[in-house]
Amino acid sequence: MPHDPTDQYQDFLFELRKTLQKMNDAGSDMPAFSQLPGWREWLKADNDPSGDITSIEKLETLKDQFLDDPAKSEAASRYWHAFQALQAHWIDISSKSWDTARMKSIETSSATNIRQFYDDWIEAGEALFRERAVTTQYARQVGEWINAQVDLNLAFGIGEAPVCVDPRDLKAALTEAEAREAQLRSELEALKSRQKTKPARATSRGKAPSKTSQSIRTDASSQRETTLKKSRPKS
């Protein structure tokens, strides 16, 4: 039976990514709650898709820790659900990109060395991610993840939630502003009419500035630049 190197490559790259994850985590200065869906999470998801970070049991445990405080419990639950939704995408993309790289290797015998296999996998992963990242669903889930993090911070007393203004107060402020504007307008009208009743004084003014036309020079050197395109903006 012919030898297929991709199993060995895959095993090795999993181990390598674990090492990179450790390096990255050691270098991280991010506060625990402010991490956005980034590459550290990708590595974690990829290395340990069945790990407890994604498990429902873990979520329930987390919720249980704050049973006496519904706001904290709800925020913690929302955060982990948002995280889990994104992580499902990452696991899916990672899995499909491995398959794509493997298929390419088998069909074209392209992966004659580990570097080529690795580059094929990265290329497949980025292509799949680009498709996924622009979908409305993924974008909404990133937004939800950020909002959930903020809520988690606020629930734990980090930062201040913006004060919700009562619409009745807003309406009162608007009415007051309109009244003030009306008063100012009437005062302005009164001032204008007083000005009109005063006798006009002769004034001497300097010569009015003439309107200058700006000459537009063409740039011969720029036209030689192959990628320097000159175009007029649409009116």
Binding site: F12, P31, F129, R140, S221, S222
Partner: protein
């Protein structure tokens, strides 16, 4: 098919080379950028204005004021002597100034975009003009700094002679703008309420997660190509330090930028208000050079190209770069082409 033994040898060689690179990069030590000589000509609340030195007198040279983004450090434009857009502009006879934004303190959380645009940039423009006894200058806005520069040029058109924008978002909601789609439903009031100043590390992780395979894994594996090459390993370490060193963002300015631009696309709808004035891009009548990268994953080319539809000038040019958002600052190809093209374009209009 290769044999199992050959595969094992391949993996072993790969591991050995990668280990060597990782070991060498640990020994590099200081990876701070080696910045070109400069002096501080003005320090204000939230910024410093730098002027880069040359051996020749400045007076006859065209002045270029660089407005960089708030979300990263500007020294990617001056990473090391061979990778320095600033050094290349100096070599091409430009008198280069740079606004260096200072990190907002906790009490700066209410600092608005108006403060950045109509106070800080304006103070710097006036300072450059005073230093050079001129009334107008060339403004080079980079990334988010380009958007700030566009707003400034629209509000103060008489102070700008020529405007250059580089990888600058204008239409924030083109179909391929992933970042824009991701932040569309973020509750910014709560986010800013929670953090005050938005942590730079949070934004940095978001940027990296735009290309999770490439930025989270591949670039480290690619280190094997740099084994036994200390100069390139040092460049790699400097880039890593730059990427990780993102400043916090003043809460209000962040809320205004993301809310009005990424979420509501107000700039191209003539609904973006700065200092109680609507920013109308058609007020920009000076010559404009719009530079963008064709493979930019942070500011897609489509977001930058849109500028042609909104500025009011007759002299509008584009320069495309076949690379990405970071490559346009530091790659060898960019170093050769971009500063030279900028200088040539400015000199033709000076």
């Amino acid at each position: 098919m290769t044999s199992a033994r050959k595969t094992a040898e391949d993996i072993e060689a790969f591991t050995e080379k990668l280990s060597r690179s990782l070991s060498q990069i640990r020994q590099i030590g200081d990876s701070a950028p080696s910045r070109s000589p400069h002096e501080i000509v003005l320090t204000g609340d939230g910024f410093r204005l730098l002027r880069y030195s040359t051996d020749q007198p400045h007076d006859k040279k065209p002045a270029v004021l660089i407005v960089y983004a708030l979300v990263n450090r500007p020294w990617v434009l001056d990473l090391e002597p061979k990778r320095s857009m600033i050094a290349r502009l100096l070599e091409r006879g430009m008198d280069v100034f740079l606004i260096e934004w200072l990190d907002p303190k906790a009490q700066d959380r209410n600092r608005s975009l108006s403060a950045y645009i109509t106070v800080m940039i304006d103070q710097c423009v006036d300072a450059v003009n005073t230093a050079r006894r001129t009334s107008r200058l060339n403004l080079l806005g980079v990334c988010q700094g380009g958007t700030l520069g566009l707003c400034y040029a629209a509000l103060f058109p008489k102070k700008i002679k020529n405007l250059i924008t580089m990888v600058t978002p204008v239409d924030f909601q083109t179909e391929d703008n992933v970042l824009s789609q991701w932040v569309r439903e973020v509750d910014l009031d709560r986010l800013v309420g929670c953090y005050g100043n938005v942590p730079g590390a949070l934004l940095n992780t978001l940027f990296v997660s735009l290309q999770p395979f490439r930025l989270g894994s591949k670039k480290y594996i690619d280190l094997i190509d740099l084994a036994d090459n200390p100069a390139r390993l040092k460049t790699f370490a400097r880039m890593e330090q730059w990427i990780a060193d993102s400043p916090d963002q003043a809460g209000t300015a962040f809320n205004e930028f993301v809310g009005n631009l990424y979420q509501r696309n107000a700039l191209i709808k003539d609904k973006f208000v700065v200092d109680n004035q609507i920013v109308n891009l058609s007020n920009i009548r000076c010559p404009v050079l719009n530079i963008y990268a064709l493979a930019d994953h942070i500011v897609p080319a489509s977001a930058s190209k849109a500028l042609a539809n909104y500025v009011g000038c007759d002299d509008y040019s584009e320069l495309t770069f076949d690379g990405g958002h970071i490559g346009i600052y530091v790659s060898r190809q960019a170093q050769q082409r971009i500063p030279a093209s900028i200088a040539r374009w400015i000199l033709a209009r000076s």
